[in-house]
């Protein structure tokens, strides 16, 4: 079936951008490599511009293996915003650590391209392809500082666990194919629903007894595979070392990009595709949400390194988000979309400061942040607002994200998850404000001046404004998220 090529313009532009970055790298002298950052930002902006006319469309691409709908457009917009912000905060780090900038920006672009494919996939094969494109790019990115043992360790861990997860996922997908005889999600849904409904009268006592055991096993494998990608407890073991060892801009990217896309895929696969098996997987995700947020927060409390701390905090944040998947029937989807968007901004805001501070303080240890408020008020306040947002204090966007999650949990009758989320928000204040305490209440130990370079100041100000603006302009954002969260 023919489709207008314009539906794929954003992806085509990004592909071109990646290749162009690799070629331009060869032509540019050592001093003018900064041009690659500008090129990335301009390219991403062009892709975003190509995305604008696609808003509101709902059209299948390539025999339905991909679907361009408001849902996909939303996540593509988030992915491109992430690319722009990460590129903006990367340059100085890349330059200081003598990272090969051509490869760095090209891989970043390809990783984003993978995310964009993932979010519009409606077929197990295309999902897997997008996932691998982004995963392999990020494995390399994590280890791009070849002479740095930490970076190598991070990459190897990430790679080994990641490929194992891919294997598990692929195995689950093959089982699902065995059950349904197709890799096309709507078709799978139809088959499973038929199986569940057809035998409901016969085996009512067994609940989901109508589904073959194979489908259940497949579901579990899928949850496990995706669990690794989104770093839910108990599939999170790779997070702390990878977050700490990877170059900080890459950590920033990992903490939001792949997570957002994997959540999009989860929404497509579970509520969208495996709806028939409802009861089973919502229980699994309720469990994952509960343990992820609780363990993530409790472990974050004791971390001495800010990147590790944010690694665990991102596990906890993911736990919050998963509640939306459990309650997807009660606007949980819209809550997830809103949360992912606002969380990504707040987290990147925090990372902008961490990159800047890390470059100047020469350390990512929490104690190095002592007295930062006197060295750089902008950095300290940006980080404070970002952390206040991550705790869920209004008037920030993440507050409303959390608010929507609370609302969907209460509407869905999951009071215990809401109470757990409330308790966890309070626990998280312990470590987020541990950093704030060091920045504001503890006098500086070393007298290194901290002067933010222009790109990082801009990124800090931009994200700071966005964190607050998303908290005030809730109406249009929420409408967009609700509109986009309608899955066919």
């Amino acid at each position: 079936m023919a489709f207008p090529l314009s539906l794929l313009y954003p992806e085509i532009i990004l592909t071109g951008l990646g290749l162009l970055l690799l070629c331009t790298d060869l032509l540019l002298g050592r001093e003018s490599k900064k041009g690659l950052m500008y090129l990335t930002i301009v390219g991403a902006a062009a892709a975003a511009a190509a995305l604008v006319p696609l808003a509101g469309l709902r059209q299948e691409i390539l025999e339905g293996t991909m679907l361009l709908d408001p849902f996909a457009v939303f996540f593509k917009a988030v992915a491109l915003a992430i690319l722009v912000l990460v590129a903006l905060v990367s340059w100085e780090y890349v330059e200081r650590n003598r990272i090969r900038s051509g490869e760095f920006f090209a891989l970043l672009t390809f990783a984003t391209l993978g995310l964009m494919f993932m979010v519009s996939s409606r077929d197990l094969i295309t999902i897997y392809l997008g996932l691998e494109l982004s995963s392999i790019s990020t494995y390399i990115l994590a280890g791009i500082m070849r002479d740095d043992a930490h970076s190598n360790e991070a990459a190897v861990k990430y790679f080994l666990v990641g490929t194992l997860a891919s294997g598990v996922l692929l195995y689950g997908m093959s089982l699902l194919y065995g059950v349904a005889g197709t890799t096309y999600l709507p078709e799978i849904a139809r088959v499973l629903q038929g199986a569940a409904g057809g035998t409901a009268g016969v085996g009512a006592a067994a609940g989901n007894g109508g589904l073959s055991a194979l489908a259940v096993v497949a579901t579990i494998f899928l949850v496990g595979g995706f669990g690794f990608k989104i770093a839910a407890v108990p599939f999170h073991m790779w997070v702390p070392d990878t977050y700490e060892g990877a170059p900080t801009p890459v950590t920033a990217f990992i903490s939001v990009g792949p997570k957002a896309a994997a959540l999009a895929v989860l929404l497509r696969v579970f509520p969208g595709g495996l709806e028939g098996t409802g009861a089973q997987w919502t229980v699994i995700f309720a469990f994952l949400a509960a343990v992820s947020m609780t363990l993530g927060n409790l472990t974050a409390l004791t971390q001495p390194n800010i990147k590790r701390m944010l690694g665990y905090s991102s596990i906890a944040q993911l736990g919050y988000i998963l509640i939306g998947l459990v309650t997807w029937r009660e606007q949980g989807g819209a809550a997830i979309l809103f949360y992912v968007l606002t969380y990504s901004i707040a987290n990147l805001s925090a990372f902008a400061v961490i990159i800047a501070a890390g470059n100047r303080l020469g350390s990512d240890e929490l104690d190095a942040y002592a007295g930062l408020s006197q060295k750089s008020p902008l950095a300290a306040w940006t980080l404070t607002v970002a952390f206040a947002a991550l705790i869920g204090i209004p008037p920030t966007g993440v507050f409303f994200g959390k608010f929507f999650i609370f609302m969907s949990a209460l509407q869905g009758g999951y009071l215990w998850l809401a109470l757990l989320l409330a308790a966890n928000s309070v626990i998280s204040a312990g470590y987020y404000f541990g950093v704030v305490r060091r920045m504001f209440l503890v006098p500086p130990t070393v007298d290194t001046p901290v002067q933010l370079p222009r790109a990082l100041s801009l990124a800090a100000l931009l994200t700071l404004a966005a964190v607050l603006a998303t908290g005030l302009a809730v109406e249009p954002l929420f409408r967009w998220a609700s509109l986009a969260a309608v899955l066919p």
Binding site: Q374, S425, F478
Partner: protein, 490 residues
Amino acid sequence: MQIPFLSLVVFVPLVGAVLALLVPRHQERTIKILAIVFTAIPVLLVAWMLTQYDFGTAGIQFEERYSWVPSLGIGYTLGTDGISFPMLIVTALITLIATIASWNISRRVKDYFALLLLLETGMMGVFTALDYILFYLFFEVVLVPMYFLIGIWGGPRREYAAIKFFIYTLLGSVVMLIGIIALYLNSGEPRTFDMLTLAERGGLSFGLQWWLFLAFFIGFAIKVPVFPFHTWLPDAHVEAPTAISVILAGILLKMGTYGILRINLPTFPEAAQSLAPALAFLGVLSMIYGAFVAMWQKDLKKLVAYSSVSHMGYVILGIAALTPVAINGAIYQMVAHGLITGMLFLLVGMIYDRLHTRQISEMSGLYNTLPKIAVILAFASFASLGLPGLAGFIAEFFVFLGAYPVFQTHVIVGVITVVLTAGYMLWMVQRTLMGKERSQFAGTPDAYGWEVAYLVPLMILILLFGIYPATLMNIMNESVLNLVAKVGGI
């Protein structure tokens, strides 16, 4: 065109905070003057509002209503009535005085005054917001500047006190947030976060009312603080710098009791009736517990801090009685306690600045050493113990009078507190002000003119509210009658 008084009162301080941030760091004098100007404007605005205030109505006045998130029914709704207007007066006045009293702050001046102004925006917002989400927003906005104000400019254990305050209050507010959402989801169509509409609509089952009352009450009880949620208060008070203690005692604690009056009573009337005895019990418990612990204190500031726990217990008892007289007394006590305890903290601060100690045992004979401060401290102590003719007496009298028909035993037990209060206050006066003059304090400067200048208005108000209660009663009575009619009494 109608002047948006309340928006101005709420956001003028915020504008001041932003302007203060734009002034270069070393121009400390400019920043201080700017802060005083921007806290004086709300005082003038509130005074202007008082001239236009309609004393004959129970309804909401100076209402401003705009849509914020229409698809969820969240509005930007501000308004005031007889319950919140007295709080606006206290907030505007106490914040101005606290700002003036902060003149000697010398560390990180810019940050201090910007945060102080931001704090005022939060407090004014809490007392004027009539939408649950807006209310929650301001309730939380208060938290962050307070954390920094205690944590950066506080005493030796400031870090601990600041985070303890933060965690406690955050815990209360997230529980409240769940309550807000549950209320919203169960209140029928069209869904709204409008406080008045939801109170008007009613129709909640008794069981649900009970749980929601509890969810909100936990949030507010921590703020008041009601025994046994009070343990953050002594730490926060003792470590906070003087001006911040004044704001904490004078305004922040009232956010809790105000919340109970504004939300718990009218929105969950049946639960309020059923839980009133428990509430009264907690009130009396706080009164007596606070008084006993205050008596035990060796530190002057801690004594005042625990006296706050005791005095806020009166407010809880008054609210629990659900009679017009008692609730009038409760609001009266909120105002009186704000003025009196604010004054006590100011005086303790002034004494500490001069003697560098707060230990009661280390001072005596202050009547001779610091005569002006001593006289004013004696005045404030008398006001605090409820001397007839001063504001505290009227408040306590109304609370007891109104609560007696309902909670006889509670009142009889509660009256003991009056004796206890007189006991620890007079004992404190005796140990600090009277006795032998200490030679090491000789030559310490007494209160400066500018310090007396901001204490005198407080004294005048305490005297005025003590002699002529109608001034304040006229403002609140109609709204209180309306509230009691809504709840229906016990």
